[in-house]
Symmetry: C2
Subunit: 288 residues, 2 copies
């Protein structure tokens, strides 16, 4: 196997190649003055199994198109098998038509990757695992909980894992079992027209505990902040916010600090700054 690094890896390529002890090759890449991407595979790949690492953080569309350019080029160049490793998969929240006439973006994006010729797809903590079925090849889901749990164990004493909605309960359950802690969830409702979020009650047994909020994607952070404030009102000793794919800008981060969140943790599936970063490359390597 060769690990082939696309233009958007955020360092995960190096980690994966090191964990697997295989050759790491970097795609030749530039952006032309008009904005188009240029892609060239600098090595013969005929008959090889190639794991392409390319995350699809902002600019999502450019990174997606680059991934498709790489995958199709590898197949044209007769690679035996192409595994698309997409640590953060964009557009995965639009996995159904919430309103009539909406694009089913998750399906279109997975179709694009599949149709460009990828045989397998590796994704870290997708928004909904069942929506991954739009990719018609072999799908492998990477659970980032082990390195996140290790990091948390060194930071807090009495964890209580809280999912910010019922859909995130499985995620909270996996993390809490590694931490040996209780877990629960808070009801969340989103108004699909205004985007406004309302949350239900925080369970009373968070009192005196180090609450760990875990969500897959943190963008504006507004859900996290609402649940964090409610947890503090319910008597939590501290609140740690974990966003596996942490997309928030500096302004949102600042607000999260201001309302009293003690620690903010993300992973290296997307570039971040000002937060604690957990490396998930060992977990990706395990699925290759």
């Amino acid at each position: 196997m060769i690990v082939l690094a696309g233009p958007a890896t955020n360092g995960i390529d190096e980690g994966v190649a090191r964990h697997l002890s295989v050759e790491l090759v970097k795609v030749n890449h530039k952006v032309f003055p008009d904005g188009e991407s240029y892609i060239r595979i600098p090595r013969k790949v005929e008959g090889e199994e190639v794991a392409v690492i390319q995350s699809t953080y902002n600019p999502q569309d450019k990174h997606l198109v680059e991934l498709c350019l790489i995958v199709e080029a590898l197949k044209d160049l007769k690679a035996e098998r192409v595994i698309a490793v997409v640590p953060y998969l964009a557009y995965s929240r639009q996995d159904r038509r919430f309103r009539e006439g909406e694009a089913l973006s998750s399906k279109t994006i997975l179709n694009m990757i599949w149709r460009s010729g990828a045989d397998a797809l590796v994704v870290v903590e997708p928004h909904k695992p069942e929506a991954m079925n739009y990719f018609r090849g072999d799908v492998r889901i990477v659970d980032p909980s082990p390195p996140i749990a290790s990091k948390l164990k060194g930071m807090i004493k009495e964890p209580f894992v809280l999912a910010p909605d019922r859909g995130a309960l499985d995620r909270a359950s996996r993390l809490s079992s590694l931490l040996g802690s209780p877990y629960n969830y808070v009801e969340k409702e989103r108004n699909r027209e205004t985007g406004e979020i309302t949350i239900g009650n925080v369970p009373s047994d968070v009192k005196g505990k180090d609450v760990v909020l875990i969500d897959d994607i943190v963008s504006t952070g507004s859900t996290m902040m609402k649940v964090a404030s409610a947890s503090m009102r319910a008597g939590a000793r501290s609140v740690t916010a974990v966003g596996i794919h942490f997309l928030s800008d500096q302004e949102s981060l600042k607000k999260m600090g201001e309302i009293g969140i003690s620690r903010i943790i993300g992973t290296n599936t997307v570039p971040t700054s000002g937060i604690t970063v957990v490396d998930v490359s060992s977990e990706i390597a395990k699925r290759l």
Copy 2:
């Protein structure tokens, strides 16, 4: 037929709907704080023939992904037939592997549009018409020469059409036949590693003539400027630069003026400022 305007039409949607006297519907579109696009078709399309207008100028990749989201949504929503009208088709210059290992971007992009479900594709002046065969449906090529010729007739007296390389000769021939003028071409060579361009001799019969340089895509404008300077040295009375898809920035435009190019003409397939713009929507409407 319905004309459906995507987020990147540069006004062509209005022109096409007016020329055809059909209903114009605008896609609901927004960009989320994290950078993802949202697409919703605001009208029932079951059983309808829909012409989607979406150009793929910068940011090319976003506009391409949006086009695929729209086309796949229309097919999901049971539109009878979807015609993708892409006035400017990005990535069309990478239509072969100039160096081993390169992505064949033109193929990948055309495959994306085809696989998302478009039955037909309408493109204004593609870089190489034969490369359009990567789209496996019905391809219709729009010749923008008629409105360009009309515009030029009011501006210059003794046109001589000059193609800035042999590959552009057919383009120059079409325009010159509408102008009733002579035409010719200049040899061009591009170093694939450095990108540097060298040009051959300008034919001596441009002397005293109003030279019209025509190219499909003008990006940095360096080819245009080299041929313009050589034409002036060969005794041309004036030089007009026509770029069908005019991608240059203000700095390049300023340089083009400084070296003595009298007029710069583009079309509305891409947004521009500071040049004379020819509307090609009537020619697109003729192919629908």
